[in-house]
């Protein structure tokens, strides 16, 4: 991930620079101690800086290969797409780079770009040819997220601004995920071809930008600095001159940083929610959003110790979910019945294995499998919430005679554990505590657990023909009720495989300084920095 374009910090700091820096820090500290002054300053000055926190540092900036939601938060600012999620409490979309977009029939979508949307770096105006390139390269280069584009056949260019997206078959998630999310971003064909020769993944070196912000600086593990794009001619008036995103994977760290005045906008942990509700920091608003995340304990079905389905089911039955949630989330999170959150198509009303589990059943299953005295490992992130989940699960498994060893990983090493492309560690993976982000279409959750995703994001290596068939069928099913039933059945198959113990969808409360920012978010609380307003 080394990069020439993204300027890394200069290693040497001369004396003068140091003095300047400390003076600035001193001034900053003075401002921080004078909220009224800062308030006036923030309102009076045009622009200003929004300092926000992300739960992880960016690791992909090519929208065609976007990987994770925290990368899309940045992409949303530096690129433009045909349509985007409308900020608010209800899931909806609005036009962004497109002047109009219409569904011609179930497999054809015609769009017309706004005129005069410019790429930076002299790469000219955004055209239908760029749209075609941006979408088709995702399929051509076998992107890990090509599932988002499902049955894309091609994009036909009609004239400079107009084109038609042609699908092989109807694809419902197109409007909920594909176009308004990561894969919908439009990159410059000329710039990407120059940078990569074949149009493949440009990784962390965006050759040019098309959003109201540009990536001015990225200091890995320190901050991402986005500044106003002077060449931007699109429809969005952005409020802040600069957005600085600080990666902090530990929520408590973020909360302390917020209270210290280092950041003005952060998600907070459910463990702290109650305390903050009772004792709010000054000038602070707390907003609770339902979360779409899903947290589960997965089991590697290919591992010799877990190959027997009865062993996996025994682990499912040994885990008492409400007890885990009580400890890890201080009772502020609800039990999840699957991977699709309430309020979305495909949400399951109940689980097969009761949330409280059943120790007698677990012991019986273990005995049947002849696996008494089983010793397994669980891999988890090193933040306290995940460690707590692991430690409670460890105690619960011990009660049925399973010894659980906890491997704590830092985020860099954790997120590649089950990937075959990153070495052989997937072979040793046994249990894993995992959480995926989600967008408002059930297809987005189910796509990671197909046979094709084994060793990519499907770390349980769960592979079921019927599941895959249903997954493929459900994306083009136009009857919402039938679609709902299909997704529920898929989650039944997942649970019956024994590879998954669903825990929770969490919740996503956010906290911000109401003297600085009026944030714009999706209904699930994810930031849309581009639409944030000044207070």
């Amino acid at each position: 991930m080394t990069d020439q374009d993204i300027r890394l910090p200069k290693a040497a700091l001369d004396r003068r620079g140091f003095l300047k820096g400390t003076a600035a820090v001193g001034a900053g500290a003075m401002l921080a101690n004078m909220p009224i002054t800062r308030h006036a300053f923030a309102q009076g000055a045009k622009g200003g800086t929004l300092r926000a926190r992300a739960y992880a540092d960016i690791d992909a900036l090519d929208p065609g290969f976007y990987q994770n939601a925290y990368n899309v938060d940045v992409m949303n600012c530096i690129y433009s797409k045909l349509i985007h999620y409308k900020p608010g409490r209800e899931w909806d979309w609005e036009l962004q780079a497109a002047e109009s977009i219409e569904q011609v029939d179930s497999t054809h979508i015609r769009f017309k770009l706004r005129e005069g949307m410019m790429f930076t770096g002299g790469y000219g105006e955004m055209t239908a040819e760029d749209v075609k390139f941006s979408f088709e390269r995702i399929i051509q280069h076998d992107s890990p997220v090509k599932g988002d584009w499902g049955p894309l056949e091609r994009v036909d260019v009609e004239d400079k601004y107009t084109g038609v997206i042609v699908l092989n078959e109807p694809f419902q998630p197109l409007w909920n995920i594909t176009l308004p999310y990561g894969c919908g971003h439009i990159v410059s064909k000329k710039a990407v071809m120059e940078a990569t020769k074949n149009g493949g993944n440009f990784g962390m070196e965006p050759p040019c930008f098309s959003g109201p912000y540009v990536l001015a600086e990225w200091k890995p593990d320190q901050y991402v600095k986005l500044t106003r794009n002077p060449d931007y001619t699109g429809p969005d008036e952005v409020a802040f001159d600069e957005i600085r995103i600080f990666p902090m994977d530990d929520e408590k760290t973020a909360e302390i940083a917020y209270e210290a005045g280092d950041i003005d906008y952060t998600g907070i942990s459910l463990a702290s929610l109650n305390r903050y509700k009772q004792d709010k920091p000054d000038n602070t608003t707390i907003r609770e959003h339902p979360s779409l995340y899903y947290v589960w304990i997965g089991m590697n079905t290919d591992h010799p110790k877990l190959k027997d389905k009865r062993v996996r089911q025994a682990i499912q039955y040994a885990i008492n979910v409400p007890q885990i949630l009580q400890a890890a989330y201080f009772g502020q999170a609800e039990v999840a019945n699957g991977i699709v959150a309430p309020g979305l198509i495909g949400h399951r009303e109940r689980t097969i294995v009761p949330p409280e589990g059943n120790q007698a059943k677990a012991k019986q299953l273990l005995a049947e499998a002849g696996a008494e005295g089983l010793e397994v490992t669980v891999d988890t992130l090193n933040a306290s919430k995940w460690k707590t989940i692991a430690e409670i699960a460890q105690a619960q498994l011990a009660q049925v005679g399973i010894t659980l060893q906890i491997n704590v990983q830092d985020s860099g090493s954790f997120w590649t554990l089950g990937m075959e492309s990153e070495g052989d560690r997937w072979k040793d993976l046994q249990l894993i505590i995992n959480r995926f982000s989600m967008v408002p279409d059930p297809y987005y959750a189910t796509q990671w657990f197909t046979c094709e995703q084994v060793g990519v994001w499907n770390w349980e290596r769960f592979c079921n023909e019927k599941y895959d068939k249903l997954h493929n069928k459900a994306v083009s099913e136009t009857d919402p009720e039938k679609r709902d039933r299909m997704y529920r059945e898929m989650q039944d198959i997942m649970e019956e495989s024994g590879a998954y113990r669903f825990l929770t969808h969490e919740g996503s409360p956010i906290m911000y300084r109401n003297t600085i920012v009026e944030p714009a978010t999706r209904p699930d609380g994810r930031p849309l920095y581009r639409y944030a307003n000044k207070a």
Binding site: A327, I392, I406, V408
Partner: protein, 302 residues
């Protein structure tokens, strides 16, 4: 009538005679008793090491058993240091954490001392090219920042007690090796060594019987002063979630968990911090007192 001068001279001669065998220990003890800070250090060290050795006997609860009490409870008669976020007894975890800390200290310093001695003696007594090669290696390893090196190693080998021991040992070896090398070189041309050589003694005999006893004393004192350093390294790695595996208690994990829930209760942080402070003070005081005793240049009574 003898003058006081002769008395002193005779006494010191007598003292010198007793600096052999058991007498040396006794004399050290006498000197140590005169040093108040040193004695305080010794008491602290005895308490901490003793509680670590007898941890299994004295813990009031199983340190890994969750929900033995209410969560995040303040100190009470049932739980003298309160309980943590999983309702575990903090006192029991602190005592058991000491076991981990001292195990790491003993194992890693033991390994570092043995390898350091071996490499240092070889470098100091061996040919010039070998010495240069070893020096390059020592300085190369020493150039790594310990925690960063630790994090990288943990990522490669996976977090465990043995990884922590490995990290500490590897980063400590060059320090001891360099000291041993210098001492050996200083001694190499001493007359008694030259005499030994003239009598036809082999290198192993010279190193083992004549050089080693002369360098090991200062080295042991140095190691005792390094104990807190090792313990804080272990605690640091555990604090970052990269040390011992949960639920094994370690002062670092107690601190980290305590930090996460510091708004709910300050007691876990206090409970995790105090033993580190006590151990550091104990070993530093004791180490300094011993150094003063064994280093003739610092002895005020000679």
């Amino acid at each position: 009538m003898r003058t006081s001068d002769t008395t002193a001279a005779e006494e010191s001669r007598a003292e010198a005679d007793t600096v052999r065998g058991a007498g040396a220990l006794l004399q050290t003890w006498r000197l140590l008793r005169r040093d108040q800070l040193g004695m305080l250090g010794l008491v602290l060290v005895v308490i901490m090491v003793g509680s670590a050795i007898f941890a299994d006997l004295i813990v009031p609860y199983d340190p890994t058993q969750i929900m033995v009490g209410p969560r995040m409870a303040p100190p009470s008669w049932d739980h003298l240091l309160g309980t943590d976020h999983l309702g575990r007894d903090t006192l029991s975890r602190v005592i058991a954490g000491g076991q981990v800390a001292f195990l790491v200290a003993l194992a890693s310093l033991g390994a570092a001392l043995s390898f350091g001695l071996l490499l240092g003696l070889t470098a100091g007594f061996g040919p010039q090219w070998l010495d240069n090669g070893f020096l390059l290696l020592f300085d190369g390893v020493r150039a790594f920042p310990v925690i960063i090196f630790g994090l990288a190693t943990v990522t490669l080998l996976g977090p465990s007690l043995w990884t922590v021991i490995f990290v500490v040992a590897v980063t400590s070896i060059p320090i001891y090796a360099r000291i041993v090398r210098t001492q050996t070189q200083a001694m190499k041309n001493n007359e008694f060594i030259v005499a030994e050589r003239a009598m036809g003694a082999g290198t192993p005999r010279i190193l083992g019987v004549h050089v080693l006893p002369n360098v090991i004393g200062p080295l042991l004192i140095l190691a005792s002063m390094d104990v807190p350093l090792v313990i804080t390294t272990e605690a640091g790695l555990s604090f970052l979630g990269m040390g011992v595996r949960p639920p094994t208690p370690s002062w670092g994990t107690i601190l980290n968990d305590g930090y996460s829930y510091i708004r709910n209760s300050p007691w876990p942080v206090i409970a995790g911090g105090i033993p580190i402070v006590i151990t550091t003070l104990g070993f530093t005081f004791l180490g300094e007192a011993l150094r003063d005793i064994f280093d003739p240049k610092l002895r005020k009574d000679l």
